[in-house]
Amino acid sequence: MSLDQSKIRNFCIIAHIDHGKSTLADRIIERTGLLTSREMQAQVLDNMELERERGITIKAQTVRTVYKAKDGEEYIFNLIDTPGHVDFNYEVSRSLAACDGAVLVVDAAQGIEAQTLANVYLALDHDLDVFPVINKIDLPSADPDRVAAEIEDVIGIEAHDAPRISAKTGENVEAVLEAIVEKIPAPKGDPEAPLQALIFDSIYDSYKGVIVFCRIKEGTVRKGMPIRMMATGATADVVEVGYFGAGQFIPCEELSAGMVGYITASIKNVKDTEVGDTITSQKNPCKEPLPGYKKVTSMVYCGLYPADGAKYPDLRDALEKLQLNDASLFYEPETSVALGFGFRCGFLGLLHLEIIQERLEREYNLDLVTTAPGVIYRVHKKNGEMIELTNPSNLPDPTEIEYMEEPIVSAEIMVTTEFVGAIMKLCQERRGVYLGMEYMEETRALLKYDLPLNEIIYDFFDALKSRSRGYASFDYDMKGYQRSELVKLDILVNKEEVDALSFIVHADSAYERGRKMCEKLKEEIPRHLFEIPIQAAIGGKIIARETVKAMRKDVLAKCYGGDISRKRKLLEKQKEGKKRMRQIGNVEIPQKAFMSVLKLDDE
């Protein structure tokens, strides 16, 4: 089947979180008529349960619909969904590279936010034609004129004729569809040229193997064709090609230049089909891969342990399965004195970590203990060796260390002017280096900071939101490594060091962190029959201490006939509680205590 390129529109929707991206996607799918209203789930694109609950899109997804435009022609719309969180910036950039244009959705009440800017810049970097849509005009606080002016001033793209819509009610959505036809350029590319296809996502299916989502830039791919991934070198024969129906894969004969679709080729591992890689033909290869490929690296590491040690093999199987679908998930076995056998896992960011953790708990029914997340530190030893440290327990003896380095990000924070002071204070507390501030308009400013990554992985986002009453938005990019005074903080419970509670921290905040950690653990560790000291130490020197007093009373005064069932339940609860404890020496530590380092911000 040969398709007229001029009738194809490959585009994505970009927006700040909650500005209505998924809702608009739903409306577009609905109006293009491939789905009846009855088939529509609340948000068609976000089909993972978890995504719907969090209201964000994790994995890029794509749908092909047919639109009959006012000019009487039928157009193929390939709507490529993009993830909406900084953790997935690279995935976003590859999805954008698969498009020819982007619809920028801006909330008519909130206006431009940090992610709006970041995404627009990303889109412009990929030479996409961006046109704005002003959404949520049904809100009482909507001010589309102001927002249109803001788009023109701040971003510098035409906005006077931007469709003003309500994706929620469906008002004026037709205008968006027409604008897609008019303003998004048709794809180019020669169907006869050597194959050059960009991988922008892949998923694992137990029947078909890896399903590769790709945009054909040049050439044509068909069934039976031997292909090669240029970066990983993996080779395979194409089993099936097709396009994306709503919620289903629809096979077709071939995919040619300009089209978006999928390829299956009995590939067993998503690692062979990395996002950003180029697929070419083995027989008639293209000269060069498409630009922009980058190996995805984990930014945040933590230990994941099964709450019940016997479930270790189950956890391993679950991680294996998740990795089939998520090449950015890294894991390797490790052991902890306190927690037994588990895995050191690497993630793109804290959100990615939380998602994996929740999926393990929900989809695989595992009860997990997570240790404090950390970043990769570079430890330069006196003998000239350099170690990339992901687990604080592996820190060499201080006498062997010449110096250490930590990763730094450059961050942009957009905030209304009244909260600038509070946010600057927060950044300062997190060892931020102030780079500058730009006023976007009278009431809003863009703050630029360099921040150590380990200061933002814990609770920076929460702190940012709470100190700006939800108004601040935030985006960051890896900048590089910087030498820093870092120390390992150890926690001793009843005089025994608990390896799983150790973490790396800047020397200046060590005392404060140690104190808070002890306070927090004092709340978390239940009273025992004896007194339990909780201490924080650096290199054997105690810097903070709290004490869990001995339990003196645990008795039910009254227990007659009618109380016996209740008494049983009480005792069962008590026994159940003990099961969720970890035995360290003769102290039982609840599992959630291991995560208490995550929430140390008190404001």
Binding site: K553, D554, L556, A557, I564, R568, E572, Q574
Partner: protein, 382 residues
Amino acid sequence: MELYIHIPFCERKCAYCDFLSMPATLQIQRAYVEKLIDEIIGESGGVRAYEVTSIFIGGGTPSILPGEYILGILQAAGDYFDIRKDAEVTIEINPGTLDEHKLECYREAGINRISLGLQSADDWELKVLGRIHTYDDFLKSYQQVRLAGFSNVNVDLMSALPGQTLSSWEKTLKKVTMLRPEHISAYSLIIEEGTPFYERYGTGEKAFPPLPDEDTEREMYHMTKTILEEHGYHRYEISNYARKGFDCRHNTGYWTGVDYLGLGIGAASCISGFRFKKEGNLNTYLEMASRKDFPSCIYQDIQKLSVREQMEEFMFLGLRLTEGVSGAEFHQRFGQNMWNIYGNVIEDMKQQGLLRVEYPIVALTEKGTDLSNYVMSHFLLD
């Protein structure tokens, strides 16, 4: 078998009380007693083989009912159940609800044990609890009871009350021991969910008057034992003290696994390994009472206890008793050696100083009593 008869009425709900109890008109009281008698008659058919060793009329405040109602209830029980001649028959009464006529009815009904709810000898503490009486009211009732010839009397007391001090508790104990009741129940106050006290104290926020802290509470508890022992009372259960020969037989039955049948709304039963309770809503109870399948239609939460559960209960209830549990009795009841099943737990708890073992007896130590939930939770089997 033991009978428990529930009277869900009181003049006014106390601030700490989570029992099934409420104020009601005489008309409702009468309707309830009529249905209760139907229930007694209805139940008797199924348990003909059992001999009744004790009866306990609890509440609420059973003494709020006219004396004839109590007489009627116990006459029905006597007519339809096989009650042993020397059965212990107790009624709970509260100061301020008693008169001589009621006491005469109780005697005639065969009641031989009176349980008086005092709680505290300090009028201010009584007020904080929301009690309807003063210490003087109690004295008056106590005297009436004695004059009516009752020779087995319990007094209920509570420690760890809001605003209570060690010295006020000591005064309460001393005042009461001077009256020489045969039995004293001394509970530490439990802040129960759904009570006004829970709203005030359950959140962990500081409230007025403050509850004694944990150390003071334990000191009160230990002082109770010391003072009562000085006055000739022995502790035979975590919160129960008696002069020689006056342990409450009915309650001891709960801790040693004797079958019991509960009558009236919300009453719990455990017969031949089956546990159940009765409908807890008064109006529903009254409606259902006219059905043909009454009283079986008011059974709820029927549960068959497994052997494992029976063993667990044998342990965690039996350990409440000062004399503890006996391996010999365990073997007799379950045909298994207690040490095969609980040997490790017993040894572990003994090592921690929480249990004392005098083969074949296992009992809580003083420290083990303070931490009895901790100890007992270990006796639940996997």
